[in-house]
Symmetry: none
Subunit: 225 residues, 2 copies
DNA sequence: GGTAAACTGAAAGCAACCTTAAATTTCTGA
DNA sequence: TCAGAAATTTAAGGTTGCTTTCAGTTTACC
């Protein structure tokens, strides 16, 4: 998670860096609006923390220019200006959140998490080995390659990716995918596991669906020999 | 744009309704947390405005339960509680913005626009592949060519352009375009997807509406062979 | 080596989806 | 207000490809 801080007060910028780096973020700081705008437009950041009052290009202008350039990185605007007018101007300039100084560091972190959460809500996926199951597009993804799953294939895959390396019985899969009272038989599961295995190898995944006699299936990462 | 207000003070709820309806939003209000949670989970709203202090289920609990149910509708939390702790709790419960009463109506509108903007519901246009959906004129644009959409066609198109390559179930389209309590059937969606496909090819778009059996529809850019 | 479990491929069945066209409702301009 | 156009709904029939079935083969374990 890369965060860019645009803040001319070095002391505050530095303490923010320390705080966020301590929380595991990858942080960069710049100390004026011009530079901030240039960095922000690289589009490589997951979040911008932007001060309003800066010499030269101020925060509102930076936000407006970043948005005009169709860069949609979330912006957390941070400022001593606490007037309603200022907050409105900030939000309308393209900011996603307006936080007034002085602020509580826990509140800042909660804001950051809220913004990143929304950012990440776009793609919901489960990963195992080098492979991801995308819940939004119902596809298996491995590096460049990806392959779409049918509805039933997806249901089975989701159960397996949930259980990961823990065993999942055929009865459990039957009950949850076909329904407890359906007249589906265990061979259905076998056929669908076959489908999934084919698709996993097709995209070059290192994930294997291992069957354990009488106990069911679980995922494993293929070891190189 | 459908907004759900969850607020037990009827006076405030009603004045919010009036304000937002005046701005062209489609607003519904409910007056307790239980009902609010149920309505919110329908997943048919573009935004929730949620009061914290309510008898029974409070705003924090509603937010938490809605998020637990994997419902990602943006939440604007609105409350008289102004303490830092409260703001942190609200954000961590799943809110996207925390606004303290009393608030300026222009600030509220700025927040709403900021949240909807991030949601992907741009005010001007939404693009996918070589094609744009103009929200002002409700037309599909591809290079020189453009074609006008009817009201329902536009509603369906907007949902698809919002979801982009993520699956959108027919159920969800039905609920959000025809209303969850209408007696519309899935064939309506099929017919309208047919209309949109015809119009997309008519303007030479490289965007395809792909159907995934049992899971719904999503957009894809046609690959050259 | 025998047995039970698991796997595979091919073909049939069927639900989901698409298309079309006509009927109905809503909108629009004179 | 009314006629005509546009939009929406309804319904039937065609098509697709997911799902199921099943028989034959392979694998694992005793």
């Amino acid at each position: 998670m890369k965060i860019l801080i645009i803040e001319d007060e070095r002391l505050l910028a530095d303490s923010l860096c320390t705080l966020l780096e301590g929380k595991g973020f990858d942080v960069e700081a710049v100390y004026d609006g011009e530079t901030g705008r240039e960095y922000a437009m690289l589009g490589i950041y997951d979040l911008l923390i932007l001060d309003v009052m800066m010499p030269g290009l101020d925060g509102y202008q930076v936000a407006r220019q970043v948005r005009t350039a169709r860069c949609s990185t979330p912006i957390l605007m941070l400022t001593a200006k606490s007037g309603v007018e200022d907050r409105i101007e900030g939000l309308n300039a393209g900011a996603d959140y307006y936080l007034t100084k002085p602020f509580d560091s826990r509140e800042l972190l909660a804001c950051i998490h809220a913004l990143l959460r929304r950012q990440g809500a776009q793609v919901d996926e489960m990963t195992f080995g080098n492979t991801a199951l995308d819940l939004g597009t119902s596809t298996l993804i491995c590096g460049e390659k990806s392959i779409r799953l049918s509805a039933k294939e997806f249901d089975v895959a989701r159960l397996l990716f949930q259980s990961r390396d823990r065993n999942l019985s055929k009865e459990a899969i039957l009950a949850r995918v076909w329904g407890y009272d359906s007249n589906a038989v265990e061979n259905h599961v076998e056929v669908y596991v076959g489908f999934l295995r084919k698709k996993l190898t097709a995209i070059g995944s290192d994930v294997r669906i291992v069957s354990v006699r009488r106990l069911g299936y679980h995922l494993e990462v293929l070891m190189e020999c």
